[in-house]
Subunit: 261 residues, 2 copies
């Protein structure tokens, strides 16, 4: 690449998050940077888009090599606003999302705003990577995350990604020297076992807070969960065809059977 | 099944939507019904969950065979509240979501709150179906949708679904007698080409409305888009492993290569 690449940085924890500022720091060493971040936390927003409320964009910083906007939208809206409005329907060379405060491994990918933004890039075939660090601490130490994000960004800028495939990168919360390296992984099977904790408000009304813990149904060594539990950075290639291809043939007889009901 | 099945009905267009009331009508002929619906429209909410605001549940109707709640949460929250709070961690026999006002074929499945609720059921291996009618009209005629929803519900209650697989059922907006039947389909490849239409508010501020049109990259006859364009009901079996399995092997060399950067 002769010219400096244009890197779009988005996140779901909002424009003030340490994880975003850490990722911007890395991105600035690799290319020109455009940031579009939500104006507050948007965790658990998944692939939500804003349809019933108008979207706003606010410019925080502007220069030749660094532009920073906030929006009232979701992480996916950030990508759409960047590509369709700010870049006037042209595309960045790379989209990076995060660094999320907390894991987005296994099934969490489907709840994640961080990864939805990366998927949104993949929809239009822009190389895209979501980064997550396994600490929910707002003041977490992002040293290891910056180290590996830098290496992975270098690699993807040089080699690209398979067509319409993005990366879900999860980084264990350990010291750089404790890390065993990188594993290319698949999504572990499992689900969230939720509790909805009831509370009572001062007027006697009941409300609920959503909490839960992940149940891993998949002990195999090729999964993201295994990699993270064993001090590896998990690099999970992600696509967005949800078809249960394995079951199409066995279900073909439904076509005639259901009509007879 | 000796006893009447318990059917959970949810949606994303809110508790007053004609599509929801149509699906409740069908469900009541098949079993006992629990409805948990958002207290207003939640289109485009995807798999969002509510983490920063407490969740509320409001009981609208209560009887032995029919219970109807609303919540301030998302479609996925509806499923979690039903299973974890109202049913006290037991599961319904079937989850049905919809009937959505508008298509959820191809890539739209990833933006869809209707389908996210069905996927949420599949996460915990509850047979789940999302239904969508190809009309955004709030007063659309749901005759064909009710007809096919009834048949498909009968079939799934009798035969079940493959493990952790749900159905994305899209129904063309035509007369019953114009329908050519059912096709078991895969998700068509394509993306949304968005426009963010700028408007000016009375104070001179710019805001944007998100609009767009679907670009179909996939002309094949086994896709959901083909089925719908040819007056078939599309029955798309859906799973939630987003791993790009086809690319794992070719990316294995990254594990050593990236570390050398």
């Amino acid at each position: 690449m002769n010219k400096r690449p244009l890197i779009l940085v988005v996140n779901d924890d909002g424009y003030q998050a340490k994880g975003l500022l850490s990722l911007i720091e890395v991105a600035k060493t690799k290319g020109d940077v455009l940031v579009v971040a939500p104006d507050g936390p948007r965790s658990g927003m998944s692939h939500a888009i804003t349809m019933n409320v108008p979207l706003r964009l606010k410019k925080l910083q502007e220069s030749e090599n660094f532009n920073f906007y906030t929006t009232n939208g979701t992480p996916v809206d950030c990508v759409k606003l960047a590509q369709k409005v700010i870049l006037n329907k042209s595309y960045p060379d790379l989209i990076i999302s995060g660094i999320n405060h907390g894991s987005n491994s296994a099934i969490s990918i489907l709840y994640s705003g961080t990864m939805a933004a990366a998927l949104e890039g993949a929809f239009e075939n822009v190389p895209s990577i979501g980064f997550s660090l396994l600490s929910f601490d707002a003041d977490a130490d992002f040293t290891i995350a910056k180290e590996y994000a830098g290496k992975i960004i270098d690699h993807v800028l040089k080699e690209g990604l398979p067509e319409r495939t993005c990366l879900n990168v999860n980084i264990p919360y350990i010291k750089v020297e404790e890390c065993n390296g990188i594993r290319v992984t698949r999504q572990a099977k499992g689900y969230w076992n939720e509790n909805l904790i009831p509370h009572k408000d001062p007027h006697g009304g009941i409300y609920y807070w959503l909490t839960g813990s992940f149940v891993n149904l998949d002990g195999k060594e090729d999964t993201d969960e295994w990699a993270l539990a064993n001090n590896y950075v998990s690099v999970h290639p992600v696509q967005f065809d949800l078809t249960a291809h394995a079951h199409i043939d066995e279900m073909k007889h439904w076509e005639s059977k259901i009509l007879q009901l």
